[in-house]
Symmetry: C2
Amino acid sequence: MKLTLLLTASLVVSFAHAQSNAPAAGAKTQEPSYTPAERPGDGKPVCGLGASFHAGRRKALREALGDGIVVVRGLPDVRDYLPFHQDKVFWYLTGVESPNAALVIDCKSGREVLLLPKANTGRESWDGELWDADDAWVKELTGFSEVRDSDELAAVLGELVKADTTLWISMHPNVALAGCYDQAAGTDMAIHKDPFDGRVSREQALKDALTKQFSVEAKDFTKKLNELRRVKQPEEIAAMRRAGRAGALAMAEAMRSTAPNMGEWELDGLMSWIQMREGAVGPAYHAIVGSGANSLVLHYGDSSRRMQDGEVILIDYAPEVDHYDSDITRTWPVNGKFTARQAELYDAVFEAQAAGIAAVKPGVTIRDVESACSAVLAKHNFSQFVRHGACHYIGMEVHDVGSGGAKLVPGVCFTVEPGLYEEKTGIGIRIEDVVCVTESGCEVLSRDVPKDRATVEKLVTEQGVLDWLAQRKQ
Amino acid sequence: MKLTLLLTASLVVSFAHAQSNAPAAGAKTQEPSYTPAERPGDGKPVCGLGASFHAGRRKALREALGDGIVVVRGLPDVRDYLPFHQDKVFWYLTGVESPNAALVIDCKSGREVLLLPKANTGRESWDGELWDADDAWVKELTGFSEVRDSDELAAVLGELVKADTTLWISMHPNVALAGCYDQAAGTDMAIHKDPFDGRVSREQALKDALTKQFSVEAKDFTKKLNELRRVKQPEEIAAMRRAGRAGALAMAEAMRSTAPNMGEWELDGLMSWIQMREGAVGPAYHAIVGSGANSLVLHYGDSSRRMQDGEVILIDYAPEVDHYDSDITRTWPVNGKFTARQAELYDAVFEAQAAGIAAVKPGVTIRDVESACSAVLAKHNFSQFVRHGACHYIGMEVHDVGSGGAKLVPGVCFTVEPGLYEEKTGIGIRIEDVVCVTESGCEVLSRDVPKDRATVEKLVTEQGVLDWLAQRKQ
């Protein structure tokens, strides 16, 4: 998840043998162990991936823009009784996990102002420590030397914005946990065009307000920021590795616990739990847990059917850890043994994914990687069962920003996820991992979940949490 | 969760002995068993709690309003990659779990029109079966004889709305899974008043659009609908019973799995999973998992601390099942044995809750129940440790609609949740259950989770899922 539309016809190219960074067929992946991950802070506020990481991102944006005033707003309070999750763009530039915060940067002078809500001791007695402008720890934790009340945003901008100032804002749709710009933009536009609604997006509302208050038309810095976001820093890659590991352990546990007549929702819930146990704040996207014919429904999200003996189950589900996503798919037999046809399709997808991963290196594009996958599927005469592209960028959003035609460089992260979907037999097979481009090839960030057919079959027959619970009942 | 502010001074009244519907101290609650709940439909669309339930709610609203045209809109597509959850008001009146749907009712003639999105086969090949106006199964499933395209809403209203028509809409803030009108209304108002945003709520946007298009000022039917919502129908009580049971099984498993040095997030994730396993679609509100001094933070939501030997852990967490919420709190010792002071405070809260539950019957108010709780705490000279009221309505929203001064009648559901919070010792104790008023008293809908001190201590020492996982590692 989320697959991208298949835009190009499969190119038939010869299959290159897997490079050393791709798993050999039949190789046994190390058994995951259950050492629960730490949560940062042990109950105390943290500044994202560290003050220096976020300061570095602000500096890079400042240098990319050269001149002008940047204003970025965080999200308001949540509307429901769920935890607050910060907007991705604001978080990337600050690491601050507080509602009603804002950031102002003067690109030329380098002055940076963090704006936080006023102290509210009444609310803190109910909610615990909140970020506010009066907290002495904020400056030390975040590295901001200037922290002001959010109510002063207009005053701060009033000091800085003149008639000829270039005012920079983000028009990227605000997204938080499990959010993605493509989905958000579509919904925002539909609401705006709705004859019984018509409201503009939060970004447009900010732009309109700035024009009205300062007679300056704000410009969008998204293109410049996205160039930075496409190439991950070491701290980001480490977070994506944590997300990959949490997702891998959850997927392996789902394999162990699978049995005929189990509800799809049981594996959905089980994986959500193991992910959280391993440090996730939540899902990177909704679980796709498709048994039988549901394995053909690319974004099936109901998890409401009982899986049957003889079917495959396709699970596409991964967590978000420290604001970074993973995206993992595996397919396995509900009863622990692939049928001949299931195995035939599985092996082709496995080979295609290995070819795709082997093709990853600096200088090529993700289109080249997709071609490497589709060539293998074509070689096996399975092209008619292909329904989606094999790659998309991933980072803070599950479909992360970046151009598909751009050359890969070290630090770029994306998925490799070929799939085959045979309507007639109700067999859908997809295998997906997240890779990060290195100097010589790539690192598979989700490598801890087995995928060779023999290991997968073996894992399904092992005792899982759900097996143990079923036994305890007696 | 979510506690209500303590509005009235505690009334010192004499303690009435628990009635038969309140648990006797020391009584052993039946051990929960792990029979996973069914999900309705086994992969096929369902109409909420059944077509006749929702038709009955429409009829009751029609009769309450007498005349005029009702228009209610469901929610648009989600902005993030999470499952769609319908707005509560729209769902209550239709049972339809589809984005971009609407309902029109002519109160006088009884004509009812369901509006659904146009068929979109391209999207269905990716997402599976979607509700659309062309689906023949919709009429049979929902009982609506007239189903039209959502695009025709203006045309349908154009037929029905004349210059003197009373047009009825809901100004209740739209809320879905884990949403609640009090939180939503506050955030909507803050956005509207924000000088850098200023957008109106979805409800106000609809009202404005209707005024503009039909020159009629729409009236709010919320007050009439809330009177209906306050008294639960048998189908609703059954759903709340399912929610109570799923929450109870999750809470009991958290007790079994608790051990010193465990992360609060581990119990948060464990409970989320067990709830889903037992049929929940998600949480009714975010988990409050407070160990040690965090037990004093009434809405603590970080779940990021490791609990320590000798502390209590207070968990306030429950699921939503079939659009209805539960709300359960238990407090237990991390090491399985309450200290003398913890036990003293615990026993007082336990006694207070029993007194509150014993006071529930038709004819009294929830204020009377709160007084029964606070009288017990006052008797023990613990009033200085009381920080919140003991009751709030519950239903489709965790703080459900209804007046605190209204007389109780059979079918009204609310929480009974006294608590004591001693800053000096870092001990917070709360015990909370959901009750439903019956002809003679009440039914405790969350009764399957133990609360007498001895059973709670025993459960903590039993082997839980997390214990088993820790063993498997070796």
